[in-house]
């Protein structure tokens, strides 16, 4: 029999104990939307699996100017977070109703490209990720969490427990661009957050998904927006810069050529949405 143990710990300490006991052989699963298909097809043959649904890590709460999202909060829960429209939009644009009821925010960080669309929004929001291990908790910026394709700074004995998003989130826009409408892998995902002083941009985040080994920031594009009014030239420059910065790949739905081309188009269109004032109520 492939799986000889399936654990459903009822608390974080219990989960960490199980990791300690079983080591890296223990497959950790939250919503199951990534791991279970592989197990069902025999592409993953774990001996022991730990499910996180009962750990109580699914709380979402606003506290001290932060939105704290428990790692096992579902995408459906995230959809309901109107305080951070970017997260709500990103969750709504991900997968299908059933998958959103199962997939978790923490799990989305580990979804291989071109998935992981929530992480793109989280990255644009300067989210901190909290990790818990036998030695306690540590918190780091999400930007430092991703280290390569399917690699992160999570150590073998740690779990992601929460994601913390600073509030208010500013003026934001999100576009998941795919070959078809809805429930489809991204060709490119773009999440933008701008901070304004009067009519000038003083801080900018442009996060890109599906065009790199993990969600990435288009830092040159961000810098180029500073001090501008998000005028057409500034938007075009940002699109060009982002196009140069991305590291696209080829998969079943798009080539690296098409992805790179779409980075420019989708960044420009996402910035255009912001320029049109669609979600600039925080300005």
């Amino acid at each position: 029999m492939t799986v000889s143990d399936y654990f459903l710990p009822r608390s974080l300490p219990e989960a960490l104990d199980l990791i300690g006991t079983h080591g890296p052989e223990l497959l950790v699963m939250a919503g199951g939307t990534v791991a279970m298909p592989l197990i069902n097809d025999g592409l993953s043959l774990p001996r022991a699996v730990m499910g996180l649904r009962r750990t109580g890590l699914d709380r979402v709460a606003q506290l001290d100017g932060w939105l704290h999202v428990g790692a096992t909060a579902t995408l459906t829960q995230l959809q309901e977070q109107r305080a951070v429209p970017l997260l709500s939009e990103a969750a709504s644009a991900t997968a299908s109703w059933s998958v959103r009821n199962m997939g978790t925010v923490g799990g989305n960080l580990f979804t291989p490209p071109p998935g992981g669309d929530i992480a793109v929004a989280l990255l644009a929001l300067d989210t901190n990720v909290t990790l818990a291990g036998p030695k306690g908790e540590r918190t780091l910026p999400l930007a430092d969490f991703f280290t390569g394709f399917m690699t992160t700074s999570l150590t073998d004995d740690e779990l992601v427990t929460a994601l913390s998003v600073p509030l208010p989130s500013g003026s934001t826009a999100y576009t998941k661009f795919g070959r078809k409408q809805g429930n489809t892998p991204a060709v490119v995902t773009v999440a933008v957050r701008l901070t304004w002083d009067a009519d000038r941009i003083v801080d900018a985040r442009i996060a890109l998904g599906a065009v790199g080994p993990h969600p990435i920031r288009a830092r040159a594009a961000e810098r180029g927006l500073l001090g501008t009014t998000l005028d057409p030239d500034a938007r075009a420059a940002a699109a060009t810069a982002a196009t140069a910065e991305c590291e696209p790949f080829t998969d079943a739905i798009a080539t690296d050529w098409y992805r790179r081309r779409m980075v420019g188009v989708v960044v420009a269109r996402t910035l255009e949405k912001l320029a049109a004032g669609a979600t600039r109520e925080d300005r």
Binding site: M1, T2, V3, D41, G42, L45
Partner: protein, 449 residues
């Protein structure tokens, strides 16, 4: 025939409606049997390779492993589905022998107590494969130095001594010489998966009387039964096939791909055996609609009449031909399109490559021919300077016209259908086209058509 019909022509309710909406319709895999075993395949991870060895020792130690089947266990391992209608040669292997010819080709069947055990045992089988050069392009496959996929030395199916299915009417070369314009096009299509929501599968159950009952979602019960009998070298009366309720087919369930090996496993274990494709097998292993490359060369007069059409088509059959040789014949018969063209020459090649085999799919051989010809018709219209409707009405076939395969057209209604479509979209047709019919041409019209 104009009977006063009472039931035919009525939108009566489907007889299976209650079963479908309540989920009580019994599909093939909605059955379980006591002691039922599960079959999964060890498949080739590469496109083309020589099999130097198979090590089953680790697989055999997986708890729940029951037995493995290899080529040596299959009574008549080399088969061809269409041998039932006289198509030769036998070429496909139920389980690969010396070579694997496509990525995903079945090598070892593992039978286990549970699906999970079967999957694990599959993962534990060690293959010693020596990779060989592979070919994926239909025209590259025909070059002299191409890797050879088949066992007979070239990469085409042979049609009574020809490497292609030929259709000839009139004299295309003479007509090209007379034509005002030559219009050429080359059309490519990609392989396509039938993707029924119910995957291909069966359950083979040994009965006390020595027979095997096979529950299957095949589209063709007797194709499956007869081929299984040949492969297992069993009299047909030892087999009892049950089906008839299929969760979508689209041609994907015309192949005989799960029943022979599941029945063999049931024979060898004397237990019910279930073999149902996974979705990834359906996508990556099961037959596709073939990819096509279609060259069209048309001789056209200034007035828009097409006087010659030469088509060279290559269907990518993949590693085995399955239903594709027949598809090519159907293609060749129809690829000139629903038009009256006096000179036609068609060469349609069924080409072997190291790709997952192609076979039947909705529109078998015709769909992609229609795509090529109907795009070509627009190009011709552009060259002669008429609109897309005009070029089609000018050339539309009528009853009594000689088709490229020399049968006289008898149920032609293209003209009436185009008239109805024009009316539907509010496109005004000139009087000449509005009054046109598919009735046989009068003496005044071009007799050569």
């Amino acid at each position: 025939m104009s009977p006063n019909l009472t039931v035919v022509g009525q939108s009566v309710d489907r007889s299976d409606r209650i079963g479908h909406v309540t989920g009580r319709t019994q599909f093939t895999a909605d059955r379980t049997f006591p002691g039922m075993l599960h079959l999964r395949m060890v498949r080739s991870p590469v496109h083309h390779a020589r099999i130097n060895g198979i090590d089953m020792s680790a697989a055999e130690r997986v708890p729940g492993f029951v037995r493995a089947l290899t080529a040596a266990d299959v009574p008549h391992n080399r088969y061809t589905i269409l041998s039932l209608i006289g198509v030769e040669p036998e070429e496909e292997f139920v389980l690969a022998e010396e070579r694997v010819r496509f990525k995903g080709e079945a090598i070892v069947a593992i039978v286990a107590e549970t699906e999970a055990a079967a999957l694990e045992a599959v993962a534990r089988v060690r293959l010693d494969l020596e990779e060989l050069p592979a070919v994926f392009d239909v025209e590259e496959a025909l070059l002299p130095d191409a890797p050879i996929v088949t066992h007979w030395g070239n990469n085409t199916f042979m049609y009574e001594g020809h490497p292609c299915r030929r259709v000839r009417l009139g004299d295309v070369d003479a007509a090209f010489a007379q034509a005002d314009h030559i219009v050429e096009g080359v059309y490519n299509t990609s392989p396509i998966e039938q993707a029924p929501i119910e995957t291909t599968g069966c359950i083979a159950v040994p009965e006390a009387n020595g027979r095997y009952t096979v529950y299957t979602n095949t589209q063709a019960l007797y194709f499956s039964l007869d081929n299984t009998a040949i492969i297992l070298q069993l009299p047909g009366n030892r087999l009892h096939f049950l089906g008839g309720t299929v969760g979508g087919g689209f041609g994907g369930k015309v192949d005989v791909i799960v029943e022979p090996i599941a029945t063999l496993a049931a024979m060898k274990t004397n237990r019910p055996v279930r073999f149902v494709y996974s979705r990834s097998e359906e996508m990556q292993v099961s037959s596709t609609r073939s990819a096509w490359r279609i060259y069209v060369r048309d001789g056209v007069m200034n007035d828009g009449r097409i006087i010659a059409r030469k088509v060279t088509s290559y269907a990518d059959s993949g590693a085995y031909s399955r239903q594709t040789p027949y598809s090519l014949t159907k293609h060749a018969a129809n690829v000139a399109g629903p038009y009256a063209i006096p000179n036609v020459s068609i060469d349609a090649y069924c080409v072997y490559t190291n790709r997952q085999p192609s076979s039947a799919m909705r529109g078998f051989g015709v769909t992609m021919g229609s795509f090529a010809i109907e795009v070509q018709m627009d190009k011709i219209a552009e060259v002669v300077g008429v609109d897309p409707w005009t070029i089609r009405f000018l050339n539309a076939y009528r009853n009594g016209d000689t088709r490229p395969h020399r049968k006289l057209a008898e149920d032609a209604t293209l003209i009436e259908t185009m008239q109805a479509a024009a009316a539907l979209v509010g496109h005004d047709l000139p009087d000449a086209f509005r009054s046109m019919t598919s009735a046989p041409r009068g003496d005044s019209e071009t007799g050569g058509r």
